[in-house]
Symmetry: C2
Subunit: 111 residues, 2 copies
Amino acid sequence: MAYSNAAFAAIADPTRRQVLERLSARPMAVGEIAAGMPVSRPAVSQHLKVLKEAGLVSDRQDGTRRIYAIDPKGLGAMRAWLDQFWDGALLALKAEIEREADPANGKDEDQ
Amino acid sequence: MAYSNAAFAAIADPTRRQVLERLSARPMAVGEIAAGMPVSRPAVSQHLKVLKEAGLVSDRQDGTRRIYAIDPKGLGAMRAWLDQFWDGALLALKAEIEREADPANGKDEDQ
DNA sequence: CAGATATGTAAGTGCTAGCTTACGGTAAGT
DNA sequence: ACTTACCGTAAGCTAGCACTTACATATCTG
């Protein structure tokens, strides 16, 4: 399973998640994003760089402005990992519960 | 949308993701987890503490050992956030594409 | 061309994460 | 009771993150 380490590290930061949430509404310019945020504009710029390198956003030049938008590819990889992990965990958990619920199996047999 | 900040911070670390992957197979003791990992056992212990506080794992005493297992609750919250974010982003992206594809709307009208 | 607008980037700083070693505590075995 | 096994935690260190201010760059406008 090939997933991006950078993507998980990127969404770990609350400020970056806030940026992503704002971009999920519609593509926006840097200054527009930074307007309603508690950090400075350069900080947002640096966050956008991280998000871009993680494949979570894409950018496009528009005059003096630079429009950022969500890039579905990076998100897809993360969802894939979470889904697979989720399914595996649930399966293992179900098996464990069934094993413990059935006395014939001997839940402490090898201990 | 109420999601856990700690959960996102927890899965940001590759070592912790490795711990989760091992636990997704079956519940395991601390030493068993640390056996096939590149870091020391105390390090794994600290990671497990973080994962537990994030609601991603649960623990149970068994003699001198401590068995850790996946806790579906914390994962569910993360998946919910990702799913909602994913859907919103795709919708916005689709709307944006349709807007740009339709010349009648004037894609640069307010600039 | 001069000025304003919009953004990226360099430099510097405070803080925290993740790691190691060392130690303490608890449960099982002889 | 003594020893062994298993684990959590404290102390200390290093590296990197997130932030700020200051500066450089590029585009549009009058």
